[in-house]
Subunit: 273 residues, 2 copies
């Protein structure tokens, strides 16, 4: 490869950082790639950091020393987070989304990478300082969000299954009672979750919190600890969930199947009764 | 926001492009964000394009005219693709991955965003010129790869379920016979897939191809057409699959549970018998 000039290096450094969130990249990764001196790359990285700070988005951490390098996380700016959550509320507050039983159709949003990536980055920002080392969700609808949270943090994702599969190897299984009083099964592969891991539990939706509770319990059964519980949308009622502490990005305050109204708001602006 | 200098703009333009793959971003998106003239942004974009071309990775398309703008796709360079597939084979060819029945454990790889993002980008490069407008997979293990393919192409993802759910709304359901002669059900929400869509079918693994065939069939039943079928790993045997045309990135040539050997190779280097 020809030697690159500064403009080219800045573009490609930002590209590489964006493609490898959370990874510790040594300076040699860049010097070899661009045929540039360490001092040159250090200057480039200082410019990248300056640009990110001017924009108020992303986090670049520089590690000094022999084992040093940089780590980047694509965290949103306050403005981006605010705009994303407001737009999601606007989209969700469409009566056409009301389904029988007072459910709200949101599959199109959580499965579209445009939205799941943004939601994942917002969730990542809420939990990065809790220093999780793996993201756990349960099939099926939690997966796109959990994957995008894991991506933004540079962590592996583990998917709890509803039943054991030969393709997952030996597993730990537990049973739990859902809010609708039915018995459910949850199983996590022993290969997937190492003892002692700090686990971030992620799901798309929480009502009673029985599923999140079961994930918290399976984490404990597997000798791991919970770094946090994050859900995209939680219902305002019941106020008391089966997990004590959780973060939700949006609150589903009310669905009226007859009047055809639905009200979803950012969780930090929940209507006080 | 203060006005940005060129270095800062180049960094932030590459960041924005990386975060919005496939989206058509008008020049005004950048001029407003950076308080810069259109001519300045055009020069910046020319520098970005030059850097990507020097690296041989990513695709930046410029659309001229009033409705113009740029679109970016994070496609890998030939070297990146080659290195990723070789490394995945190395990881998969570990006898410790052999499961009862000759299955190979690969859940850790396809659920880790480090790998699923790379696999997704490689798959995206294979199908971008087929111009799909939605990516379809089936729960559960196809989801991380399909989401990352969809992300790289800037398309929505649709997940076929094993049974209908109230949260998906009305759906189309079909039954099919798997390679192991069992009857399976597949259901796709009517809201999820619009008639006339060009659908890219993605899955993690193909043996007989019954699941991919069922996805192809459901696409037809819903008034859509197939833009392509892509799987991460296909078995060498049976050579004839239930779908006529598909792309696999890797080929599982052989698993021997007794001798404890497994052989996975890049699909373009399949051993000729």
């Amino acid at each position: 490869m020809d030697r690159m000039n500064r403009s080219q290096r800045l573009v490609l450094i930002m590209k590489l950082l964006s493609e490898r969130p959370g990874e510790l990249l040594p300076l040699s990764f860049f010097t070899e790639r661009f045929g540039a001196a360490k001092s040159t790359i250090s200057e480039d990285l200082a410019l990248v950091k300056e640009a990110l700070e001017a924009d108020g988005s992303g986090r670049l951490r520089t590690h000094a020393g022999a084992a040093g390098g940089v780590q980047y996380w694509p965290l949103p700016s306050r403005e981006e987070e605010h705009a994303t959550l407001e737009e999601l509320c606007r989209l969700l507050n469409d009566p056409g989304r009301i389904l029988p039983g007072g459910f709200v159709y949101m599959t199109d949003l959580i499965t579209h990478p445009h939205w799941s990536a943004r939601i994942g980055a917002i969730m990542a920002a809420r939990f990065i300082d809790a220093e999780p080392d793996v993201v756990l969700t349960v099939e099926t609808k939690g997966i796109p969000l959990a994957l995008m949270v894991a991506r933004a943090l540079g962590l592996p994702m583990v998917v709890a299954r509803r039943e054991g599969r030969v393709t997952e190897g030996p597993s730990v299984t537990l049973h739990y009672i859902s809010g609708s009083r039915r018995i459910h099964t949850m199983t996590v592969g022993l290969r997937a979750l190492q003892r002692g891991s700090r686990v971030l539990v992620v799901d798309d939706f929480m009502k009673a919190g029985a599923t999140a509770r079961a994930m918290v319990d399976v984490v404990g059964e597997m000798g791991c600890s919970v770094a946090g519980v994050g859900v995209f949308v939680a219902t305002a009622v019941p106020e008391k969930k089966q997990v004590e502490r959780y973060v939700s990005l949006l609150t589903l305050e009310q669905v009226d199947e007859v009047a055809r109204t639905v009200r979803v708001v950012p969780a930090d602006r929940m209507t006080k009764e």
